[in-house]
């Protein structure tokens, strides 16, 4: 075919600042950050005792989430301590996925002239944040470290390590090894689940727009927005559940 669909698995590097490569997903993630900080600044600026509409919306969402967390974790103190992490993970991933179909993401770009002998290609200036495996891996590592540290802090180092390295019986030892392996596999599972869902969604929209660019992409984009919301919710929910598992005493 003369013009094929250009699918890039890895994010494209735009410039290097002092030897540190700046990719287009990093630029978009800064946009997401600025958006979140601006919204939180403007909503939190004039908080009244009898709230207006936007404040009520946020209070409902936050109240619902922290009640659900308290129900799962069975401890108000732990729920309050974990609420920022869980909510931030959800808001960051959800906003990043919402931004995916804004006009400008993926279409505004620069044409780079590659090395001598290569043809010039189009590099988009913004790219959806979760289509970068580095981002999802970073989020997965944050969750992983949070889960491990919570387990150690709440039930103590020896008891927590005793869950994995268990010399009491042969069966216990094997189960410990399996548990250890599943802890590490969780890293891969988290990062690939988020990356795969969002990246596959983008590829789907690309392919559909190549064949039928007129009306058909719209319901698929709506579906992708729903998938984006579900993946954000699932990421935070799974982090919450694994924290709960990490702080329960071994039986």
């Amino acid at each position: 075919m003369a013009n094929t669909i250009h699918i890039a698995l890895a994010p494209e590097v735009l410039t290097k600042i002092g030897g540190f490569p700046i990719t287009n997903t990093m630029v978009t993630s800064f946009v997401v950050m600025i958006l979140l900080i601006a919204v939180s600044f403007f909503v939190g600026r004039n908080m009244k005792l009898i709230p207006g509409k936007i404040q009520t919306l946020f209070e409902t969402i936050f109240g619902g989430v922290i009640d659900y967390m308290e129900e799962t974790l069975e401890s108000r103190k732990l729920a309050v301590r974990f609420f920022p992490l869980i909510m931030t993970l959800f808001l960051f991933i959800f906003t990043a996925n919402l931004l995916e179909f804004t006009p400008g993401i993926g279409s505004i770009g620069i044409i780079s002239h590659g090395d001598v002998g290569q043809s010039s290609e189009f590099i988009p200036l913004f790219r959806s944040v979760n289509t970068d495996l580095n981002v999802t891996l970073a989020l997965a590592i944050i969750s992983f470290l949070a889960i491990e540290f919570t387990g150690v802090l709440v039930i103590g180092f020896l008891k927590y390590v005793g869950k994995f390295v268990n010399f009491k019986s042969m069966l216990g030892f094997l189960i410990g090894i399996i548990e250890l392996f599943s802890e590490v596999a969780r890293l891969i599972s988290f990062s690939f689940r988020l990356f795969g869902n969002i990246f596959a969604g983008e590829v789907l929209i690309l392919v559909i727009m190549f064949f039928v660019p007129v009306i058909l992409p719209v319901p698929l984009m709506v579906f992708e927005l729903f998938v984006g919301f579900m993946q954000a919710a699932i990421f935070s929910l799974l982090t919450l559940f694994f924290v709960k598992i990490a702080v329960t005493e071994p039986h």
Binding site: I7, L9, S189, F192, R193, F195, G196, N197, F199, A200, V203, M230, Q231, A233, I234, L237, L238, F241
Partner: protein, 75 residues
């Protein structure tokens, strides 16, 4: 067989075979969830939430297959 043809074939086989298992799995999860809601409509909120989490886990396996297929084709 040339490399490009082999790559495309590999990608198609990886996704095609890889999604069979999770497909059946998700069908089973939703079937059991619907059965449970039918038996106990009051608990439908909890059942639905747990169903979505189960679907996320099994769908992750299908996504692994998809990512491997992308790697086969484009890397």
């Amino acid at each position: 067989m040339e490399l490009e043809v082999a790559k495309t074939l590999g990608m198609a086989l990886a996704v095609g075979l890889g999604v069979i298992g999770p497909g059946i799995g998700i069908g089973l999860i939703v079937a059991k969830a619907l059965e449970a809601i039918g038996r106990n409509p009051e608990a439908s909120g909890k059942i639905q939430a747990t169903m979505f989490i189960g679907i996320a886990f099994t769908e992750a396996l299908a996504i692994f297959a998809l990512v491997i297929s992308f790697i086969v084709k484009f890397v």
